[in-house]
């Protein structure tokens, strides 16, 4: 335990330095595997794109009444499995059922 503390968790240990260097090589280079600056670019792009779209997309209320489909997806085998749970939930919260 102690020897691990002396290596991995020590900020100035050799393994730590090696790890830091590898991370530096992967991230700091422009065409490296991970570029943190890409996040900034993507964010800016999303902002620009959404503001551009906001100008032209129009939302129109439907003239027909909205019908909500109540046929929810139910897995039959799950219903059997919930037998005990449904019993308990009613018993333990009888004031709301």
């Amino acid at each position: 335990m102690k020897s691990i503390d002396r290596t991995v968790n020590n900020p100035f240990s050799l393994p730590k330095a090696r790890e830091d260097y590898m991370r530096h090589r992967l991230t700091a280079v422009g065409n490296g595997a991970i570029r943190p600056n890409m996040k900034k670019g993507a964010f800016l792009f999303i902002c620009l794109a959404s503001s551009a779209l906001a100008g032209c997309v129009q939302v129109q209320a439907p003239d027909k009444p909205i019908v909500i489909n109540l046929n929810i997806a139910i897995r039959q085998e799950v219903l059997y499995r919930l037998d005990q749970a449904s019993k308990e939930v009613i018993e333990e919260n009888s004031e709301i059922f």
């Binding site: 139910i74 897995r75 799950v78 919930l82 749970a85 449904s86 009613i90 004031e95 059922f97």
Partner: protein
């Protein structure tokens, strides 16, 4: 001396266990429906839907609407909790409980929703349940 000390500890634990037991039993007995909710049920203003929530049989008064919405929110919270614990979706948990609520918790005179969506009044005969109800 040491033995009597141990005995004392045991007695204290026993007393604590009894107290907790009594408290749990007490809270269980206390868990009664709100009288306004019970009344709305008995009067047939609201009913059990097939999806595990309460629904309005007729246009509700603001008070009844608020009551039902509050109960449905509380129900959904419980369904969510149990669904998560059982690897099911909230809808599945709600639907399964709905089957049981219609079958076991409605009494004659109260309203429930039939599989076709219409409101029925519970009588002594078994209720109409969704074919998916176990």
């Amino acid at each position: 001396m040491a033995i009597s000390e141990k005995m004392k500890d045991r007695l204290e634990m026993l007393a604590a266990a009894l107290l907790i037991g009594a408290a749990v039993a007490g809270s269980g007995a206390m868990a009664q429906r709100d009288p306004a909710y019970q009344q709305a049920r008995s009067e047939g203003l609201i009913g059990e839907k097939t999806d595990g929530y309460l629904g309005f049989v007729s246009t509700p008064s603001p008070a009844v609407r608020a009551l039902v919405e509050d109960l449905n929110i509380k129900r959904k919270a419980k369904y969510t909790e149990e669904a998560l614990a059982n690897g099911a979706t909230v809808e599945e948990m709600a639907f399964r409980t709905g089957c049981r609520l219609i079958k076991e918790r409605t009494v004659p005179g109260e309203k429930y929703q039939a599989p076709d969506g219409s409101w029925k009044t519970r009588d002594a005969s078994p209720p109409l349940l969704d074919v998916r109800c176990p």
